[in-house]
Symmetry: C2
Subunit: 86 residues, 2 copies
């Protein structure tokens, strides 16, 4: 068995209202930035999975992202592999 | 001026206690996963910056991440460029 570290990026689906993103966006001008738009705030989850292959680990992370880490009705996710260890 | 889209990944510094990560970790066995460890939950912020170059846009995003999007005492961040548009 090997260990694989992944990152799951969970964000609201496009078009849905994002109050956290709006809050960040409206704080920016006071700090001098008026050139920023489309701020969206989501979650970042890092985790380490023990599996016999990278493909198996990734498939499990996909399922975790779908079943536990995101709400598929309003959110979408992307998976990055950070590091694989033999 | 061009538009550049970045993602800022904000996570707790290693070693700091992460209650959200622990909550996710303790839900996993009930769903059948006992092979997952080191779960850390952070934030994911996507934003679009208008600037004259990618380097200038990135420098601004770094400063936003430091001053507004993260708490440098307990968090660290990483910046990904998603897309640059001419």
């Amino acid at each position: 068995m090997s260990r694989f570290t992944f990152e799951v990026l969970v964000s609201l689906k496009p078009g849905l209202s994002d109050p956290q993103g709006k809050a960040v966006e409206s704080s920016l001008p006071a700090l001098g930035w008026t050139n920023v738009s489309r701020v969206r705030v989501g979650r970042h989850v890092a985790l380490t999975v023990e599996a016999s292959s990278e493909a198996e680990a990734r498939a499990q992370v996909e399922e975790m992202a779908r079943r536990l880490l995101s709400n598929p009705v309003i959110e979408e996710f992307r998976i990055l592999e950070t590091e694989g260890r033999g």
